[in-house]
């Protein structure tokens, strides 16, 4: 306790130098916690959006389905096993049929994936109820990015050409009954959503589907062995692998930013410690002559350095708390460039601060400061009281 008092007295005695160090370190605290909250918010937002819009509580894929291989898409379909049909009947799952097709719009030819989905489903966020009824044209929903790239808008029409299950061409007009305001690329770019029964009829694939999207938290039904061979369950963890790896990449990018901020702050503390040791060499000699042990002396100086981080944490708490709460409310507006990057984010990113982020960041910075403070203090161990009193340092 006397050592702590002494360290604090020395710290406050340094005046402006301490103030500047503490302030710079507190800015690092706030920025790092702010950025971590932003990444956490980004991750949560992305996973929430893809789950609500497409992945649901997991999906059953027909064994031939590979979302990264469009070449196999036309062969990836099959009849739903009884258990999945029951699930769909109870509103706990929705089957979707995927086929390749060509869209003719504004004298352009666009290769698309045609998605058939039940119009009465409520499992994913696509307003499929709007696909009901309509005129002679096939009612279709597209995402806003798809609408932009195809030059289509609500009420617009285009010609769709597809091949049925046996390979015969067919073509008909589609009418865009709704454009989705979505950030989920999997349901937007190159995707056209039409009623499932209509697509099944168009392609002669009655009662067949490519995948089945289950409701969040729904229990997995028991499939018989033959059905299990044809339909494989992909859980949320598997389905969100791309989003998670994207977030990991973002975290790594963010880590570089933290490293820069921390480096600057630590450089300040390191310099301060070095200066303190050189300037206060006679003080050290006096203390050693009066009987303080070298270990205690190292402890005082290390404590002084570490206390910068503690004071910075207190200062950051004082001005950072209202600032970060305000930031969490207004969010961080993303430009169009983010949408073009293919990140499943909204126009505004809302940070999320968890106790682990705040306490973890504080603990990490304090520990790092303690280490940086200790390094220059090792010289003290080589001091002899007589040399120190004469102002000599080894």
């Amino acid at each position: 306790m006397p050592l702590l008092k002494l360290a604090l007295r020395n710290l406050f005695g340094a005046g402006l130098r301490t103030g500047l160090n503490v302030f710079v370190l507190s800015v690092s605290f706030v920025i790092i916690i702010g950025c971590q909250g932003l990444y956490k918010g980004m991750s949560e937002q992305m996973l929430r959006a893809v789950t609500a819009s497409y992945y649901g509580g997991g999906q059953y894929w027909h064994t031939g389905y590979d979302p990264f291989d469009t070449l196999t898409l036309d062969d990836a379909h099959g009849r739903l096993p009884d258990a999945l049909q029951e699930m769909a009947g109870a509103g706990l799952a929705v089957p979707a049929l995927k086929r390749q097709a060509t869209l003719y719009t504004q004298n352009r030819v666009i290769n698309i994936t045609l998605n058939g989905i039940k119009t009465d489903q409520t499992i994913i966020d696509i307003p499929t109820v709007k696909l009901r009824g309509g005129g002679r044209a096939i009612p279709a929903i597209i995402g806003d990015a798809m609408a932009k790239s195809a030059g289509l808008k609500k009420g617009g029409t285009a010609v769709l050409r597809w091949r049925d299950a046996r390979g015969t061409y067919d073509a008909d007009e589609i009418e865009i009954v709704e454009t989705l305001n979505t950030n989920v690329n999997a349901i937007d770019q190159g995707q056209v959503w039409i009623p499932l029964d209509r697509l099944q009829k168009m392609t002669n694939l009655h009662g067949e589907a490519t995948l089945v999207i289950t409701a969040v938290d729904s229990a997995r039904p028991r499939l018989d062995p033959s059905a299990e061979k044809d339909w494989q369950f992909k859980d949320q963890y598997f389905l969100t692998a791309d989003e998670r790896s994207m977030m990991t990449a973002q975290y790594i990018e963010g880590g570089v930013l933290y490293a820069v901020f921390l480096f600057l702050a630590m450089l300040g503390i390191f310099d301060t410690q070095i200066l303190a040791i050189y300037h206060r060499i006679k003080e050290m000699g006096t203390m050693l002559a009066l009987g303080i042990t070298k270990a205690n002396l190292i402890w005082i100086f290390t404590l002084e350095g570490t206390l910068y981080a503690v004071l910075a944490a207190v200062l950051a708490f004082i001005y950072g708390t209202p600032l970060l709460i305000w930031f969490a409310r207004v969010g961080f507006a993303l430009g169009d460039s983010y949408a073009q990057l293919g990140l499943t984010l909204g126009s505004v990113l809302y940070p999320i601060y968890t106790p682990s982020i705040v306490l973890g960041t504080a603990a990490f910075i304090i520990a790092l400061t303690a280490l940086i403070s200790y390094l220059p203090c090792r010289r003290i161990a080589k001091l002899t009281p007589t040399d120190a009193l004469r102002g000599k340092i080894v």
């Binding site: 030819v109 290769n111 010609v159 050409r161 046996r166 015969t168 061409y169 067919d170 073509a171 008909d172």
Partner: protein, 242 residues
């Protein structure tokens, strides 16, 4: 009397069906051969002007073909190999051979109105379609039969075709390809013909994707010779890199 009229109508119908089939057989015999070499140009009419591509094509058994693009400089050296229902392209810029399959088949060939999958259709009309004679007309001052072709099996790419066939030369001067719903998908019009080895063949034709606006792609056969002895090595993937 009624029975005689009915019999005569049935006989006329049977004769016309027979005759339509014969017409198809003669069209197939006229245009298809065991081997031929052609130099052709393809003019792609776009919004930013026309683009002409020339190519030399070796065709064997009506199912295999090897195409080498000769001009313009950007396309020169690009090669395409079709063996049955498989298609590869080779680009000298990337020095890579790509198997055209899946969605790539629906891409247009060098920006033309022709897609890669159009090239994979069975060329034998008689194998694929049941023909019926629906009329006789004059088309570009030539007397023609109008034929309505219905696919024999459900796995035919175009469920229906209409052909206008020159009565003397057994060459289709106009062809319309329809979707199952009856929507016109492709249109082929021959504007000039040529005679090679006593066969009448299309010299200049326009191939148009009817779902797109525009004037279609103009194909002109500069030269054509029949040759049943085309070298075997030409129809291999190794030939693409040579």
């Amino acid at each position: 009397m009624k029975k005689i009229i009915l019999l005569l109508s049935l006989l006329t119908f049977w004769l016309s069906a027979e005759s339509a089939e014969n017409i198809l057989r003669k069209i197939d015999a006229n245009r298809l051969s065991d081997g031929k070499i052609a130099v052709m140009t393809m003019t792609i009419r776009g919004r930013r002007g026309d683009r002409t591509i020339s190519a030399r094509v070796w065709q064997r058994n009506s199912k295999d073909s090897f195409t080498e693009y000769l001009s313009p400089a950007r396309e020169k050296g690009t090669k395409m190999l079709k063996l049955g229902d498989q298609l590869w392209t080779y680009s000298p810029d990337t020095d890579r051979t790509i198997l055209i399959s899946g969605h790539l088949l629906r891409q247009s060939v060098l920006g033309s109105d022709m897609s890669y999958e159009d090239m994979l259709e069975d060329p034998y009309l008689l194998n694929t379609y049941t023909a019926s004679l629906i009329g006789e007309e004059i088309l570009r001052e030539r007397p023609v039969w109008a034929l309505d072709l219905t696919a024999k099996t459900a796995d035919t790419a175009y469920a229906r075709r209409k052909l206008w066939v020159d009565k003397e030369r057994y060459i289709a001067l106009k062809e319309e390809l329809y979707a199952q719903s009856g929507r016109l998908l492709k249109l082929l019009e021959v504007s000039a013909v040529m005679q090679v080895n006593k066969r009448w063949l299309a010299k200049t034709m326009t191939y148009k994707d009817a779902l797109k606006d525009g004037d279609g792609t103009l194909v002109n056969i500069e030269s054509l010779e029949f040759n049943d002895q085309l070298p075997e090595h030409l129809f291999s993937k190794a030939a693409l890199r040579k």
